[in-house]
């Protein structure tokens, strides 16, 4: 069963990922994704009923920090790489709300 990826899907994924593709890129993307998904469909051959999805390989849990202030004012460092900044803040095109 071949996956068919439509323009609508690529557009949708583009919104999710904030990516804008040219017409050619879109065509290629549709093919690539369809191929990948066909390949990934191979996983359906596996019977995974009753198998818990495993996020972490080791059963480590409860890694915590104590509630103690350690960090100070490092604003200059934090803003060092900002493409645009003003008044100690990062500057971006205006947001709607």
């Amino acid at each position: 069963m071949a996956n068919v990826i439509t323009d609508a899907t690529i557009d949708y994924v583009g919104i999710l990922a904030k990516l804008e593709l040219s017409e050619e890129e879109k065509e290629q993307a549709k093919k690539d994704m369809a191929n990948m998904l066909d390949y990934i469909d191979m996983l359906n051959e596996l019977d995974t009923d009753g198998v818990e999805p495993m996020s972490h390989v080791f059963p480590v849990h409860n890694v915590f920090r104590e509630d103690v202030v350690v960090n100070g004012d490092t604003r200059d460092k934090i803003l060092k790489n900002a493409p645009e900044k003003k008044d100690g803040s990062f500057m971006v095109p205006k947001t709607v709300d």
Partner: protein, 491 residues
């Protein structure tokens, strides 16, 4: 032996004994860089000579004062460009981070610096570690020092090539699906991915968070163990860092494999494996058998499922990890945009290369509404089965052996047109990351074209010492490996 051909540990000894100065060591590396870097393009950035010499002087002073006594003190190193280095641009070989100057260093780098390492520069890689050839770098491809018409492998191709060409004495790479082991095999050097959680990921710019590990790329197994011992540590800044019981990996440099149980997965030696690679690997296995190891074939049936599971999981995590690159806080921002969301789209579309975009889109898709169960959860269940299978295998065997890659290094330009085919090349390395196992690639031969072949050894989680012992024993029996052509003609 000339300074130039020394391993890191050998050099470290000489420096400690006062026979060679740190400055001399750095000069040697810089000379080689001058000779070959233009053609090979191993580095994204070589540090300014003055900067290097300044650091060399500091380290020398500390060594002389008896403050630095470790095996790597004064030895020059190259760092893959996805590890943050304070004050040194860190780009992940991407346009979107072309000018990013981190305000802190990775824990692994800090560990090296505390041990007296001198950083020569940041090495080239596949953009954001996504690739197997280092051809997706924004800063141009790196060439394989054994044959410059071929790729060095990826994504740690720059690091592998730099070590092979003598442009550094050792390097750090990162491995998410084989990105240390495969380029190590293509470039005829040793590369190791430790057990997940052994080396802190703090400061490693994330690709697939549940899979990424930093590891050594070195001239031999002794260096590999020494580097691992230096960079491995428990880090409270990384919630996935594992507090291991012992870190003295160099104690495993023992030439003894008597009774070592080696498993050879039949599924690793089927179709698609280059016959020369197969022969070289099996020959190496024979060497170990002759030294007293017990070799047995077995079934590792989950092998084919590792690749689709990996690509679902890695691309899903990557799609989220790379969301932060948006032109707001650092890096590239598009010049020409209309409004906020357009800025995001233009910045990311212009800043990311094709392979990165491909994986971000795939990752976003498999996590999206309606597909999460079918793809992502399914992949996580597959991962559980893969881990189970390895757990069972390691009840019987101490080491599992296979090739590091199905072929030797392909030609430049041959791989990118068929991404799926390229992904299939990861077949031997990928399940190791899914299961969190340690794995090492050691050079074991060369093909008819003279391109290196690597043998990959895997051990159970937290069993690096078994791995090191097996690799070291093999290396001792193998003897010296050929010298890379890029190194000839210097000295």
């Amino acid at each position: 032996m000339s300074l130039f051909n020394m391993t890191a540990v050998e050099l470290g000894k000489k420096i400690k004994a006062g026979e060679i100065s740190v400055a001399q060591a750095c000069q040697a590396a810089l000379e080689q860089i001058k000779a070959t870097e233009k053609e090979l393009n191993c580095y994204v950035k070589v540090l300014d000579e003055n900067q290097i010499m300044e650091r060399a002087a500091k380290v020398q002073a500390q060594i002389d004062a008896g403050e630095l006594t470790g095996p790597l003190a004064g030895v020059p190193v190259a760092i893959k460009d996805n590890m943050c280095t304070e004050g040194i641009t860190t780009t992940c070989s991407s346009k979107i981070l072309y000018n990013f100057n981190p305000t802190f260093s990775s824990e692994a780098v800090l560990n090296l610096e505390r041990a007296g390492a001198v950083i020569l520069g940041k090495t080239n890689m596949d953009e954001f570690a996504m690739g197997s050839t280092t051809e997706t770098s924004y800063f141009g491809e790196t060439k394989n020092p054994w044959n410059t018409e071929h790729v060095p492998g990826g994504s740690s191709g720059g690091s592998a090539a730099a070590v092979a060409a003598g442009e550094c004495f050792y390097a750090l790479g990162s491995d998410t699906g084989g990105s240390i082991r495969q380029p190590a095999s293509f470039c005829g050097i040793v590369g190791m991915k430790p057990t997940y959680g052994t080396v802190s990921r703090y400061g490693l710019i994330a690709y697939g968070s549940s899979l990424d590990q930093i590891g050594p790329m070195t001239k031999d197994v002794t260096d590999c163990a020494a580097v691992l011992e230096t960079i491995a540590s428990y880090d409270s800044k990384d919630s996935t860092s594992f507090r291991r019981e012992d870190y003295d990996f160099t104690s495993a440099l023992v030439d003894d494999v008597k009774g070592l149980k080696i498993g050879i997965p039949k599924d690793y030696f089927g179709d698609g494996l280059d016959p020369e690679v197969r022969d070289a690997v099996l020959k190496a296995v024979k060497v170990l058998e002759e030294k007293g190891a017990i070799v047995e074939e077995f079934n590792l049936t989950m092998v084919p499922y590792a690749i689709p599971a990996y690509y679902v999981i890695a691309s899903a995590e990557a799609s989220s990890n790379l969301s932060r690159f948006d032109g707001v806080k650092y890096g590239y921002r598009s010049e020409d945009f209309n409004g906020l969301h357009n800025m995001y789209k233009k910045t990311r579309s212009e800043g990311f290369g094709a392979e990165v975009k491909r994986r971000i889109m795939l990752g976003s898709f498999v996590l999206s509404s309606g597909y999460y169960d079918a793809y992502y959860l399914k992949a996580l269940r597959t991962k559980a089965l893969i881990k189970q299978e390895f757990d069972q295998a390691f009840q019987k065997y101490d080491i599992i052996i296979g090739p590091a890659a199905p072929t030797t290094a392909p030609k430049l330009g041959a791989s990118l047109s068929d991404p799926l085919k390229m992904y299939l090349g990861d077949i031997y390395t990928i399940s190791v990351n899914l299961a969190g196992l340690p794995g090492i690639s050691v050079p074991c031969g060369r093909d008819k074209q003279g391109l290196p072949i690597g043998i990959q050894m895997l051990a159970d989680c937290f069993h690096e010492k078994t791995l090191i012992r097996a690799a070291y024993s093999y290396e001792q029996a193998r003897g010296a490996f050929d010298v890379c052509p890029a190194q000839k003609g210097v000295d």
